[in-house]
């Protein structure tokens, strides 16, 4: 459904040195720096998938989204989405996609949300009946009933984001691009947005490409992750796969009252008074065996077994690839 092959994109950045003299100098001679925003990006995405597209700031996430939505033209490479080349057949292509840029707004600032929706209806030439059905569905699911007649400038960030997402879905797109849809939202709004994305993906077989810095978003939504750093794809796989690869061990934390003098055959990560944190390789040891051994050595008062959080894994990954 979506195929990207060998996409490259460079940006030319004008370097301006600090200072008045340097500013005059740059009137005559300008220095540019070439930034490889994307370097040989290749991946395929199937219908109905939710893809978590992650990477640190400046990794090239938004650039990829912009190329896939027909806004930017890459320097080289091919891209085939629904049979279109986005930047070449922009007008025909964008009819089939919905886009939400978390940091920008597609709603008209001064007028009620509903007015913007009707404008979008005319822009996408959505038949009135279909528009009404979609609007009703989105209103219920995203809980927009009370805010549709409010001017956008008076909405809270969470309300606005829900309206933005609805705006991107009024014309029944087949693919939805979400560029940081939960940026700046509080916990409740985030949950609402996540729940909605999950439902809409399930019900409409919508393909969703999501970029975010919130690993909980990824954990809740994405079955597949593509990790990008410095313009290169570093990892492409499912979340469990990623976990397995990087979390072959679990973290056991125990609180104890007394300690016997016996050797512990496991790696100790941290130890404070009456508390010890151990890393257990689950491929070599079974948990029950470990707990057995530990209870022989410690007089345990509390114990917890944790998988490493996805956030920690990502930090490790960033470190491993030095991005």
């Amino acid at each position: 459904m979506i195929q990207l092959a060998n996409i490259c994109k460079n940006y030319q950045i004008y370097q301006k040195k600090q200072g008045v003299l340097q500013a005059f100098q740059s009137l005559i001679h300008r220095e540019y720096k070439i930034i490889n925003a994307l370097d040989d990006i290749t991946f395929n995405i199937n219908e109905g998938e939710i893809i978590g597209y992650i990477g640190p700031n400046g990794a090239g996430k938004s650039t990829t989204i912009k190329i896939m939505s027909g806004i930017l033209v890459p320097d080289s490479g091919t891209c085939n989405i629904l049979g279109f080349t986005p930047w070449k057949q922009r007008k025909e292509y964008v009819r089939h996609i919905g886009v939400v840029f978390g940091q920008r707004s597609q709603l008209w600032w001064d007028v009620p949300v509903l007015d913007s929706y009707y404008l979008l209806k005319d822009i996408y030439k959505v038949p009135l009946k279909q528009f009404k059905t979609n609007l009703d569905l989105l209103t219920t699911k995203l809980d927009l009933g009370d805010i549709l007649n409010t001017p956008v400038r008076q909405l809270s960030l969470g309300q606005k984001m829900r309206c933005e997402i609805a705006a991107a879905l009024l014309h029944d797109p087949k693919i939805l691009f979400l560029d940081e849809p939960t940026i700046g939202l509080d916990a409740i709004s985030k949950l609402k947005v996540r729940k909605f994305i999950k439902e809409i993906n399930h019900e409409k077989k919508l393909t969703i490409i999501l970029t975010t810095h919130d690993m909980n978003d990824i954990e809740a939504l994405a079955k597949r992750i593509i990790l990008i750093g410095k313009g290169k794809i570093l990892l492409d796989g499912s979340l469990p796969e990623l976990r397995q690869k990087f979390t072959a061990h679990k973290i056991i934390t125990i609180c104890y009252l007394t300690k016997k003098d016996c050797p512990i055959p496991y790696k100790i990560i941290a130890e404070t008074e009456n508390k010890v944190k151990l890393a257990i390789d689950v491929t070599k040891n079974s948990i029950s065996e470990v707990i057995n051994k530990l209870s022989n050595c410690y007089d345990i008062c509390d114990i917890s077994v944790d998988t490493r959080s996805i956030e920690e894994i990502i930090v490790d990954l960033y470190k491993e690839y030095q991005i």
């Binding site: 033209v73 940091q103 920008r104 822009i123």
Partner: protein, 267 residues
């Protein structure tokens, strides 16, 4: 077409909200109007030669200029489009299945019309009741009025096609002020809004007739005032159509080129 119409409607209703701005605008326009009239009067009194345009005709064009300022001035700018380009919100515009030139054109047209609609009537009404020769008068006959309307509307198309070029240049300059200022000042002069074209030296008149600017304001206003004969008016309509087509083609091609290398500002 319906897309452009509803965009147009949206912008028009938005523009009509700004009543205080319109009121302040009307006062300013009166100030400028009187100032021009005083200058022209002093000029006409100090000379005995017969000028190619009578003082009263000139005053009529001054009032038309002041009341329809929003339709004819190149410096009349649309901050939304400037922001789209310089801040990168153009990303959303490019995600729509519409022609960018078309949406911007209708936005600009709506903005100018909404602004002019709020202002022109009160100015002309008050100017109509001023004592002769300072007053604004009705056209000589109905044909003149129709010719005026046609050339005014076509002139608006020229103004907007010209401003489209200014906005497209911002993809390269990334500044909303520079392009508009330069275009604005040069355009204003060549449109006869600084010195009336009939009072210019011969060579300068020829230059202005060869460029598109005078067809936006000088032409319709002098037709209204009765300073341009029917035959010339009808020929000028064809010149206007020529300019609209030429500017449209240039704008379309240039925009296409600009979009190919567009950089979305701000991440």
């Amino acid at each position: 077409m319906i897309t452009y119409l509803s965009l147009f409607k949206m912008r028009l209703t938005q523009g009509l909200q700004y009543r205080v701005a319109a009121f302040a605008g009307i006062l300013t326009q009166f100030f400028w109007g009187f100032m021009y009239i005083m200058i022209y009067q002093a000029f006409y009194q100090s000379t005995n030669t017969i000028q190619p345009i009578s003082l009263h005709q000139l005053i009529t064009t001054v009032w038309l200029q002041q009341s329809l300022l929003a339709l004819i001035m190149l410096w009349f700018r649309n901050n939304e489009i400037i922001k789209l380009i310089t801040k990168g919100d153009i990303a959303y515009e490019l995600c729509r299945p519409v022609d960018l030139y078309g949406i911007w054109f209708s936005r600009l047209a709506a903005q100018r019309l909404s602004s002019a609609l709020l202002r022109f009537f009160p100015i002309l009404l008050i100017a109509y009741f001023l004592p002769y020769p300072y007053n604004f008068s009705l056209p000589n006959n109905f044909v003149t009025f129709i010719l005026f309307l046609i050339t005014l509307v076509l002139g608006l198309f020229i103004v907007i096609s010209l401003s489209m070029l200014i906005y497209i240049s911002m993809f390269y300059t990334l500044s909303g002020v520079g392009s508009i200022l330069i275009f604005g000042v040069i355009g204003e002069f060549l449109a006869g809004l600084t010195i009336p074209i009939p009072l210019m030296p011969k060579t300068l008149i020829i230059i202005t007739y060869l460029l598109p600017f005078r067809y936006t304001s000088d032409l319709p206003f002098r037709i209204y005032a009765g300073n341009i004969a029917y035959k010339e008016a009808i020929i000028s309509i064809f010149v206007q159509i020529f300019w609209i087509i030429t500017l449209y083609i240039i704008g379309k091609l240039w925009l296409k080129k600009a979009l190919n290398k567009v950089v979305i500002q701000g991440g």
